[in-house]
């Protein structure tokens, strides 16, 4: 009985990693996973010598081992100096080149190649995520429906304290901050359901602030959009006030109509237009 439960535990342990970036389901996370593997292999060459030499030297030159010449005053050698400064510096230079390149191509603001992206506006609230589809006049809370294989461009802000949006299997995270906009580009390779969350603590309901990303085939996405637009619920000022209050919603909800320019209004009420260059332009 107990051995069976231990076996269950062991299996569960392995599945943990499948929820993270080591099991990527989109090009961004996939690319970042590749970088992770590359860097880890390079670093094995850095950590390896220390992990080998430390116990080796400590044990070999122990006090009770009188076999080797004891050189109490030996404290310098140009050879050793070269060995401990040059290779690590070389590795860091190599990693720096790698880093510069990958940081440019994995920039969360960088548009993904392919079809025109789906536009989504994500607004962080306590303790829920609101996703507005400005082109569809549709919004959803705690569920993000996207077409598989199409790029998605998300603009984020917060109607409350600072938060951070992470969908580990699709892309890295970016903060959502009141009065400021940040951007994130994601894409899913294939249909599926992926976990998304806020990773920046924001009070008592924090642990519940999860959402699900549903990637569906393109045709299904159009069906979903059409169905969502026909829905009865609207995201008006009153609903917004209710949503903004600190609370956890039990199940994801969808809205057929959204107050026009909701995202911009949230930016404005969080005082943020003063940071935004667009204000001067208007």
């Amino acid at each position: 009985m107990t051995s069976a439960s231990f076996l269950m535990l062991g299996l569960a342990g392995c599945t943990a990693l499948s929820h993270g970036f080591l099991n990527p389901q989109g090009p961004v996370a996939g690319h970042e996973r590749d970088l992770f593997v590359t860097v880890s292999i390079v670093l094995l060459f850095v950590a390896g010598p220390v992990l080998l030499l430390t116990p080796l030297f400590a044990w070999h030159y122990r006090l009770s081992n009188r076999g080797d010449a004891y050189r109490p005053k030996w404290n310098f050698s140009w050879w050793v100096e070269a060995l401990i400064w040059i290779p690590p510096a070389g590795i860091v230079i190599g990693l720096a080149i790698l880093l510069w390149h990958w940081t440019q191509i994995d920039d969360p603001y960088r548009r993904l190649p392919g079809a025109a992206p789906i536009e989504v506006q994500a607004i962080a609230l306590d303790w829920k995520w609101v996703f507005v589809y400005p082109d569809l006049d549709v919004a959803a809370v705690d569920r993000l429906v996207i077409p598989a294989g199409r790029p998605v461009h998300i603009r984020l802000t917060s109607g409350t304290v600072m938060q951070s949006m992470l969908i580990p299997q699709l892309a890295g995270q970016i903060y959502a901050m009141g009065g400021m906009t940040t951007e994130l580009n994601i894409q899913a390779h294939r249909p599926g359901r992926f976990r998304g969350e806020n990773t920046q603590y924001n009070g008592a309901g924090f642990q519940h602030q999860k959402f699900v990303v549903v990637a569906v085939p393109s045709a299904d996405y159009d069906c979903w959009a059409a169905a969502a637009r026909r829905g009865k619920r609207t995201l008006d000022a009153q609903t917004w006030r209710r949503l903004s209050a600190r609370s956890i919603i039990a199940l994801p909800v969808e809205f057929a109509h959204v107050t026009p320019n909701l995202f911009e209004r949230v930016l404005e009420t969080t005082g943020g237009m003063s940071h935004s260059p667009t204000k001067a332009a208007r």
Binding site: L9, A12, A16, L17, F21, L22, A29, E32, L35, V39, L43, V46, A47, V50, L51, T54, F57, A58, Y61, R62, L63, Y70, R71, W74, F76, V80, E81, L83, I84, W85, P88, V92, L95, A96, L99, W102, T103, Q104, D106, P108, T160, V161, S164, L166, G172, Y175, M177, G178, G179, E183, E197, N198, T199, Y201, A204, F206, Q207, K210, T269, G271
Partner: protein, 699 residues
């Protein structure tokens, strides 16, 4: 539930009965509230028991005159370390509670309420950084540095005492938050706007602000004091390139403190202005911008990492060289590497917010700057490895810590490079991967270092050695506990588990959370073993005395005096003629006898104790308490007491005491006679009872 109304605002400010954990637990006896009440009761009962014992044994006067008001750097150092151990115990218990909560709260609410959990991770982080690590290293530097420089005290003994008492006052506020009110749930970094009044209206954040502010002012003062001591009080002939490595790392640490602590003080004070006076530095609205906070906080926060780690690097340099019975390899490289780390540490703070939307170029530049620190750090590790080469390594407790450090720290460096890569940081920032990384740096890098130093210098400070067996048990528990507690967190972080999560909704995380929880208990066992070790060591001290003062065949000047040392450290200030004067004099042919009688003695002037520093530190804490609870009268009166104490001290005369040459001569000659009667022992016997603190001279 009754609403807590403030009682007589002028006297009790915004205090209501509900602010007492006992009342809350009475009205709503959940396990979470009962734990809170128990912790509060522990603080109260602890204070009462200590007071009762002091009264019973009539030790109040002794404690006051010999310790609390003392300006002696050795006693101040020891008091700092006592504070560090007390706070370590609390913060470690909190860590165990959090791990237990996470282990049971898988698709289940667990036993701690979300708010209680939030307070726990906030106090755990704040305490470990500001009231465990900082006092520990400041105390260690305080105790050891003047000896290594050949000085009789720190540069500013009174300021030294004020810094200590500000730290104690701030730690007192942390303890008070257990008994009256609540603590912040904003984490150790207190990010606004969450910590603004609009989102955190209670007293919790105010406790955090004032505890951190007092602590940071104390640390700034300590930094100035340490730097001035190094610059001004080196013994004749002690050139910079002759200083022990620990003195070097102390100097670099102090420079970091001087430049890094003020941004923190400014950040917390601006946050206080937001909260108390309605300013809008970091609020969401009216032009506030929390990015300014992030910048200032991490302008402190990143160098802080090296404030914490550099002193430990110093300890490891001493320990590895001493217990390899060999010169430190690559002294010059180590000095250069230390300074490089200190300078570079100010150039990388943006890596704490790679995910805040700045351009890829900015992120890449700061990522590369961050990785660069890996080079000097790696060099240091290799220098210690090559120090063992062709040496005679002895596996004493401090050396075991050093070895465990080298092998574990390199894994932390590995994950550090991963975090320095912005695309990878996007994936694991704010997850348990990050938590695992910084514990991987700070436990081997700071805690092991401080514990190694504690075992290494304890016999110097108290005149007897710590028990070796319990030391090894504690060491084993720290190492095993560390791996069990933190390696699962790397896996969980890579699986996307956010930090600071009170409940978990992913059953596949369960086994890893169980292992981490077991690890937390092993770490608790490690701390308990240290407590047992101290008790056993005190009990058996008759058989481990080392009056001659040099139990490990040490190198620095601290080993050339008696254990415990006299108040004035050196009867005659040493003349420095090399990098390891004491060691070379002991071991080299044709060198002067390190235990020879000096030709003459002089009067020595030492600072007299002062109550003003105690008053300043405690009154500052009372003023902070008044501000937290909005008891304005109390705050004003306490602040006036602080000012009055400073004024009073500046009129004070007789701040010094002269120890006549005859008395110094008598004491010193008595010790020299004892040294001559002490049998010298070979290194093989250093942990045996025959080790009375005199190393065998093998030329």
């Amino acid at each position: 539930m009754t609403v807590s109304a403030p009682l007589w605002p002028a006297v009790l400010g915004r205090f209501g009965w509900q602010d007492l954990p006992f009342v809350r637990a009475w009205e709503n006896p959940t396990i979470s509230e009962l734990i809170g009440a128990f912790a509060g009761a522990l603080v109260v009962v602890g204070a009462v028991v200590v007071a009762a014992l002091l009264t019973r044994y009539g030790k109040w006067r002794y404690l006051w005159t010999e310790w609390l008001t003392s300006l002696d750097h050795k006693k101040i150092g020891i008091m700092y370390i006592v504070v560090a151990f007390v706070m370590l115990s609390r913060a470690l218990v909190e860590a165990v509670l959090m791990r237990m909560q996470q282990a049971v709260a898988i698709e289940h609410p667990g036993f701690l309420s979300p708010d209680h959990f939030g307070q726990l991770f906030s106090t755990h982080g704040s305490i470990m950084i500001f009231f465990m690590a900082m006092p520990f290293l400041t105390g260690m530097i305080n105790y050891v540095l003047p000896f290594q420089l050949g000085a009789r005290d720190m540069a500013f003994p009174w300021a030294n005492s004020i810094a200590l008492w500000l730290t104690i006052g701030a730690a007192g506020l942390m303890m008070a938050s257990l008994v009256v009110g609540e603590f912040s749930t904003g984490g150790w970094s207190g990010y606004p706007p969450y910590t603004e009044r609009a989102f955190s209206p209670g007293v919790g954040v105010d406790y955090w602000i004032w505890a951190v502010t007092l602590g940071s002012i104390g640390s700034t003062m300590a930094g100035i004091n340490i730097a001035c001591t190094v610059y001004k009080l080196r013994a004749p002939g002690m050139r910079f390139m002759r200083m022990q490595m620990f003195s070097w790392t102390s100097l670099c640490t102090s420079i970091l403190m001087i430049f890094a602590m003020p941004p923190l003080t400014v950040a917390t004070l601006l946050l206080a202005l937001d909260r108390y006076l309605g300013f809008h530095f970091f609020t969401n609205d009216l032009g506030g911008n929390m990015m300014n906070y992030a910048n200032m906080f991490w302008l402190f926060g990143h160098p802080e990492v090296y404030i914490l780690i550099l002193p430990a690097f110093g300890v490891y340099s001493e320990v590895v060289s001493t217990f390899s019975t060999k010169d430190l390899y690559g002294y010059t490289s180590l000095v250069i590497a230390t300074m490089a780390i200190a300078v570079l540490s100010f150039t990388v703070w943006v890596h704490h917010f790679f995910t805040m939307g700045q351009s890829a170029n900015v992120n890449a530049a700061f990522g590369i700057a961050t990785m660069t620190i890996g080079v000097p750090t790696g060099v240091k590790i290799y220098d210690w490895i090559w120090t063992m080469f062709r040496g005679e390594v002895r596996f004493t407790v401090p050396m075991l810590y050093a070895l465990a450090f080298m092998m574990t720290f390199v894994l932390g460096g590995f994950t550090g490079i991963i975090l320095a890569m912005p695309p990878l940081d996007y994936l694991v920032h704010n997850t348990l991967f990050l938590v695992a990384h910084f514990h991987n740096m700070l436990i081997p890098g700071l805690l092991y270092g401080m514990l190694a130093g504690y075992h290494y210098w304890f016999p110097k400070a108290f005149g007897f050695r710590l028990d070796e067996r319990w030391g090894r048990i504690a060491f084993g528990c720290w190492v095993v506990g560390f791996y069990l507690a933190f390696f699962p967190l790397y896996v969980l972080g890579a699986s996307g588990m956010a930090r600071r999560t009170q409940a978990i909704f992913e059953p596949s995380f369960r086994p890893w959370l169980y292992v981490a929880c077991v690890g937390a208990f092993v770490l608790l066992a490690a701390l308990t073993s240290l407590g047992i070790q101290l008790w056993v060591s005190i009990r058996d001290r008759a058989s481990t005395r080392v009056e001659a003062g040099d139990p490990w065949d040490g190198r620095g000047l601290e080993w050339s005096v008696s254990a415990p040392p006299p108040e004035y450290n050196f009867a005659v200030l040493p003349l420095i003629d090399g990098r390891n004067p004491f060691y070379d004099h002991k071991h080299d042919e044709g060198q002067p006898d390190p235990y020879a009688s000096p030709s003459s003695y002089e009067d020595i002037v030492v600072p007299r104790g002062s109550a003003t520093s105690v008053v300043i530190g405690l009154a500052a804490a009372v003023a902070a308490f008044g501000l937290i609870w909005e008891i304005w009268g109390l705050a004003i009166v306490a602040l006036q007491i602080v000012v009055a104490a400073v004024v009073l001290r500046s009129f004070g005369r007789d701040q010094h005491r002269t120890i006549p040459a005859a008395e110094v001569a008598r004491e010193h000659e008595k010790w020299l006679a004892r040294v001559r009667a002490t049998p010298a022992i070979p290194r093989q016997l250093e942990t045996a009872a025959v080790n009375r603190g005199l190393a065998e001279i093998v030329a």
